[in-house]
Amino acid sequence: MSELLFVEQFTRQSEMVTDEDLLAQSLDGSVNAFEVIVNRYKDRLFNFVVRFVGDQETAEDIVQETFLRAYRNRDTFQAVAKFSTWIYTIAGNLAKSELRRRKRWRFLSLGSKDEHGNTFELPDVASNPDRDAETLLAEAKIEDAIARLPDHYREAIILRDIEGLDYDEISTIVGVPLGTVKSRINRGRLRLQEDLGDLACALWKQDEDETTAVRSNP
């Protein structure tokens, strides 16, 4: 565990170092430099992958495999693209492969997964004491609605609205033209609204109440 503490120290010292420089250091044989990259991106990638494939264990495996592939191919990375774009592309491709594999074997599976291969989980209120039950329930419904979106809409929505990447980056990661990305995001959002129906209206009402409260108590 002392090695992990060393990596944490190294991470703090390397806050100002760019991903590309860290990658160059790892090419010279420094595993610690690559671990700083891992610490920077592990949660971001996990958030993307877990919502894309809908299963925590598979998402963990995919994130680990993403980093290993990036490490193996670190000499092929070209600085013309951002490192974040490159690593999201690897993760996205692995997640898509997993979804394709699932579709192939869907008829053999008798688990508790729905037709899209997503596992439904009830929100765990106890593990999130700072969020009220209503918010958690609403979030769970939104997560389910995201899971029900077609793969290409879901990928675009997660990258844009949850991960906050810009359109150019998404276009490179997904491997489609910019116009297609914009279209997918717009249609994905409209599809989400339709799917959520009553919840969307409830969110609207809640939003209006909050706005009124802010206006009356500035």
């Binding site: 565990m1 992990l4 671990e35 949660d43 980093f67 290993l68 939104i142 609207w204």
Partner: protein, 184 residues
């Protein structure tokens, strides 16, 4: 502008990516169409909600497992690198080992080649057998030289000629060869 056309522009409008006449057209449509205006407002709320969704975290053991996997990967790389380096810059000991090995392999190959030649007969010959062969060869050459067809006529072989070419009968020749080859 129709409802479908305006809805196609919602995302870009919310992110401030449309300007000029397109924006003007959309605003006019939204003022005239409450259904589209409501959809746009819902999309704005939905975007905010999505950006505030609870962040998921990897278990604490992930970093430890990742480090182990990376070290294993680094070791695997080092093994191949070391093998490549050894090939590109061999040590003297390695060179001598390779030379001795190659010489030994060459000797083994030669012995096998002579013992089991491609023709099927053993390549090993005793001196006595070689002498018999040389005598037969000399006889044959002499016979051919004496009977060269100067006028282009073919040579007719006779029993007498054969006897001249092979002074040692085959049975006798076998008696000479067999005891010698049995020693190998």
């Amino acid at each position: 502008m129709t409802c479908a056309e305006s809805q196609n522009l919602f995302s870009e409008y919310l992110e401030g990516q449309i300007t000029g006449t397109v924006q003007q057209g959309l605003v006019e449509h939204l003022e005239a169409c409450p259904a589209c205006a409501q959809k746009l407002k819902l999309m704005r709320i939905m975007r905010v909600r999505l950006s505030k969704l609870d962040r998921k975290h990897l278990p604490d053991t992930f970093s430890f497992e990742m480090r182990r996997a990376l070290l294993a990967e680094m070791n695997r790389e080092n093994i191949w690198l070391n093998r490549l380096r050894a090939l590109l810059s061999p040590r003297p000991q390695t060179v001598w080992s390779a030379a001795v090995g190659t010489a030994f392999a060459a000797v083994c190959f030669a012995v096998l080649w002579l013992t089991f030649p491609p023709g099927g007969q053993s390549g090993w010959r005793s001196d006595s057998v070689t002498e018999v062969d040389a005598a037969q060869h000399d006889q044959s050459v002499r016979y051919v030289l004496e009977h060269l067809p100067f006028d282009g006529e073919p040579i007719e072989s006779t029993v007498k000629d054969t006897a001249r070419v092979m002074p040692v009968p085959p049975s006798q020749a076998r008696e000479v060869v067999q005891p010698v080859s049995a020693t190998f």
